[in-house]
Amino acid sequence: AQSVTQLDSQVPVFEEAPVELRCNYSSSVSVYLFWYVQYPNQGLQLLLKYLSGSTLVKGINGFEAEFNKSQTSFHLRKPSVHISDTAEYFCAVSDGYSSASKIIFGSGTRLSIRP
């Protein structure tokens, strides 16, 4: 069975500071990994995804994540955050591309940016 653990429920950072949101997963088969962002009162939006290939994945809004198979991690990073990055971030894992595959979401990390 797959699972996702987001180690921090809240991360406060100052504007223009770097940030890392941590995510660890468990899966017995090949994994596909995702980060989604949810702005207040909105649905989820895909930030980036790892399917195969390069372990460093770049996404929208200057975010990137690194897939580390040995540590079963997929941490999200941004070198300099803005007030507009205030949102909830969800890490997710799926085991495949078939019609039976489904995405399992973590519990989320709330990123709050201080001016």
Binding site: V4, S9, Y32, F34, N41, Q42, G43, L44, Q45, L46, K49, L51, F90, A92, S94, G96, Y97, S98, S99, A100, S101, K102, I103, F105, G106, S107, G108
Partner: protein, 114 residues
Amino acid sequence: EAGVAQSPRYKIIEKRQSVAFWCNPISGHATLYWYQQILGQGPKLLIQFQNNGVVDDSQLPKDRFSAERLKGVDSTLKIQPAKLEDSAVYLCASSFTSGTHEQFFGPGTRLTVL
């Protein structure tokens, strides 16, 4: 391109009442998902449709929840009767195909059961 539409955006009901949510996916998207997002948690899949057929409803509480997707386009999710623990945001998502292809989410319906 229009996104996933959901209505209503907010709903307040008393326990034991019934409620229905509506979702219109992105045009051409064959796969439609309903998720329940309880405050402080990630979304949990309730049901997945491929066209108008159910692919996965293993986590749908079938004694009180039902969903349909007639004609393979828009979908409704119903709760009857509602319980206090059903208070959550109900998210609809769609994708071009099933599996891990990118899912596009609607804004959700926030349900409060009193």
